[in-house]
Point group: C3
Chain length 131, copies 3
């Protein structure tokens, strides 16, 4: 099991961690298997989507902020209830298949840590298991 | 493969099943691997989020109810279309890494069955596979 | 690793791929394990939900279209920003447990490719790994 350290810089943003995840896959020596990515946080999550045009990530974050507004009425009194809800919508556990020692991502796909209550230091757990 | 039985008590609620999932991991004897959690229902799902303050779960359920209102216009005529949609948003399949015989959850994280059309008797499928 | 080819016919729709995924499981010879399903696209995703009444899938797609309207203001200028966002909400990576050579799906559950920017030719990556 590897752990990535990710420092986020904004309240909400998608941070591209594809290269770091790919590095874990390479160093694992696994040629064919599955790469598990898990965020052990409750106000952050994971998104697998386009990492070519950064505006896509901004649109994802911005629309989530419209759907779960920061100024709504929430019971949880720490002020980060919307971040918990956004995290539940995108999810904390995702995987990517591995073939020939590489993540089987589509041409435009990347893996992102989704920060919803930053800026903070975050961890991402990565595990690569052979077939 | 293990199966948990969960009785829900409300129309919509998050039921903390972390201890039951951890029990399956312990009894599997697996020290390092992945714990797969799957809900074989179409009007319930899974959420991994804060299980310290119960108001977080209430906020998640309440905001989903705003986004997918029970009184909207839906084609599916059984009255539970919103529950199907909510289930699709949080997802039915999640995993948690396992190390040293324990779920690698963050400090505040727990695993919840998300009930969207209760009260009902639900099942949760849990599988623990070693590296 | 198997790859399914799916041709979608509408801008947005859920395409039932359960039989094709089950075929991959059968041909793998795996009796007990996990079936990984991954969509290598950024404007499509995966949904596991009811495949009995087709109106459920229509409701899911229709409500996502209300939550992430096609006519909103988005930064990404290719016109498919809403499809990227919808894809992030339902997710690109899901799994289904396998027992006795079959997907462990609930009575009403099926696996769908969720098209959000069709019609197109899509791929779905399926991997079956034994315990």
């Amino acid at each position: 099991m590897a752990q990535l350290d990710v420092s986020t810089k904004s309240k909400m943003e998608l941070v591209d961690i594809t290269a770091q995840v790919q590095k874990v896959v390479r160093e694992s020596g696994v040629r064919s298997g599955v790469c598990y990515i898990f965020v052990p946080h409750t106000t952050a999550g994971l998104v697998i989507n386009e990492n070519w045009d950064p505006s896509v990530g901004q649109d994802i974050v911005s629309q989530l902020d419209k759907l779960v507004p920061r100024t709504g009425h929430y019971r949880h009194l720490e002020g980060n209830a919307p971040a918990h809800i956004k995290s539940s919508l995108v999810g904390a556990s995702h995987f990517v298949p591995v073939e020939e020692g590489k993540l089987v991502l589509g041409t435009w796909q990347g893996v992102f840590l989704a920060e919803f209550d930053g800026p903070r230091h975050r961890h991402v757990v990565v595990k690569v298991i052979p077939d």
